[in-house]
């Protein structure tokens, strides 16, 4: 331990070699930070913030597109719903039309059928009546002839009798 070292003031006296090394080191670290370290990190910070901004932008765009698509689909859906209800109404109306048509046609056909049936019954009835009249007349004439003999040879009496008989039958029938 030197006596000089006991004096704390020695600590504050710079040595040439200390200055040289301090200056060299300062220049080296300053160059490193100025030229490499900070530009590198700044580049990374910038890239990151631009990426984040780009991401936010993209997300906004996607959101907008999604909103648009949703609105479009909702519009389409509501149109489709309206259309569907219209179609249903139309179908219902048509169905009732068809039913009514069918009913009226059926009614008409039925009445036609019943009319023609009525007519054919009537005509058959008429035919039967005419036929019956002829047959009954012949039969009755034959029968009466057999019973009464010559007494009924006269044609006038014969037809009068037959008419009377038929009228009686008709009255009975009614």
């Amino acid at each position: 331990m030197t006596v000089a070292a006991e004096d704390g003031i020695d600590l504050f006296i710079p040595h040439v070699y200390d200055m040289v090394w301090s200056a060299i080191i300062l220049v080296i670290v300053a160059l490193f930070f100025y030229k490499y370290f900070l530009p590198k990190f700044n580049a990374i910070f910038d890239e990151r913030s631009s990426k984040i901004e780009g991401g936010i932008e993209n997300a906004k765009k996607a959101q907008k597109q999604a909103d648009e698509a949703k609105r479009k689909y909702e519009d389409q859906l509501s149109t489709a719903r309206v259309e569907a209800s219209k179609i249903r109404d139309d179908a219902r109306a048509e169905a009732s039309h068809i039913i009514a048509d069918a009913r009226s046609r059926a009614d008409a056909e039925a009445s036609q059928i019943s009319q023609s049936a009525q007519r054919s019954i009537e005509s058959q009835h008429q035919q039967a009546l005419v036929k019956l009249r002829g047959e009954v007349g012949t039969l009755a004439a034959a029968l009466a002839g057999r019973i009464l003999g010559a007494k009924l040879q006269d044609g006038a009496v014969q037809s009068q009798m037959i008419d009377g008989l038929l009228d009686e039958i008709s009255d009975n029938k009614q």
Binding site: A5, D7, L11, M19, S22, L26, Y34, Y36
Partner: protein, 270 residues
């Protein structure tokens, strides 16, 4: 310091603990003795610390990715701390952009150099010789003079600083010399001495605690008393080491923020 050395002398005479002295900061030259490139212990620590810092930070920056890992996250925290919490906070982003690399250099280098004080093997801060803090302080001074000349012009800067407006003229007799001294001497020297003295006292405190721990626990003949006393000193050394880590950061921060403030003072008021 003289007092500590005195006690050392006293105890050393009795074969006491190997207490640290001022000599720790005036180590002998071990390489290139006598030349301007002589290297002593502190300078060796400084060179090793510089190489280690450049390697670690350089490799980290080279490997830096857009999506940071844990280590890169720590580094980015440091970089954005210097940028946002020191430079931009004091002088704003517009003015501060050009000074971010300078303040980052000062902050990171001083932090690493200070931390050497508690790195085993180094055990002395690389800033614990007066020249290293002085060089940083002179850099700051050069920068605030350049900023002053560029932003205000030399004449207006000196007029504003030395003859502070709004002061009655007789006060200038007292104020003007103080202001000149402030600009040329006090600012750089206060930066230098604050950092340097903190590193010296930190080393002395840690080393004293550990020297007493060593002495009481191992060298003392009276083990009954020596072990608890030594253990207490050791705990003290542990706490001081943690405190030194904090001081290492704090002094780097103080140096960086004061440099920023001094440079900002050279800009015209807005």
């Amino acid at each position: 310091m003289v007092g500590v050395a005195g006690i050392h002398m006293l105890i050393a005479a009795q074969g006491g603990p190997d207490l640290p002295t001022v000599d720790d900061f005036l180590p002998p030259e071990i390489l290139f003795q006598g030349t301007p490139f002589a290297i002593n212990r502190i300078i060796l620590v400084r060179i090793v610390a510089t190489v280690a810092m450049l390697l670690i930070l350089g490799v980290s920056a080279h490997r830096a990715k857009l999506i940071p890992g844990r280590w890169q996250g720590v580094l980015e925290m440091g970089v954005s701390f210097v940028r946002d919490n020191i430079v931009y906070e004091v002088m704003g982003a517009l003015r501060g952009r050009r000074y971010v690399p300078m303040i980052a250099t000062i902050f990171f280098t001083i932090l690493v150099f200070n931390l050497c004080g508690i790195v085993p093997g180094a055990n002395i801060a690389a800033t614990a010789s007066v020249v290293m803090p002085l060089v940083f302080a002179l850099w700051t001074m050069v920068q605030y003079w350049i900023a002053a000349v560029r932003e205000k012009g030399l004449g207006r800067f000196i007029r504003d600083e030395v003859f502070t407006p709004g002061v009655p003229w007789p006060v200038y007799i007292l104020l003007a010399p103080i202001q000149i001294l402030e600009l040329l001497v006090i600012r750089p020297l206060s930066l230098t001495i604050r950092l340097f003295a903190n590193m010296i006292s930190g080393h002395l405190m840690v080393a004293t605690c550990l020297a007493f721990a060593q002495y009481w626990m191992i060298e003392s003949a009276d083990k009954l008393m020596g072990i608890p006393v030594g253990a207490t000193w050791f705990v003290g050394g542990l706490l001081m080491t943690c405190f030194e880590a904090f001081v290492a950061f704090l002094q780097a921060y103080v140096f960086a923020i004061l440099s920023t403030v001094y440079i900002n003072l050279s800009y015209p008021e807005q």
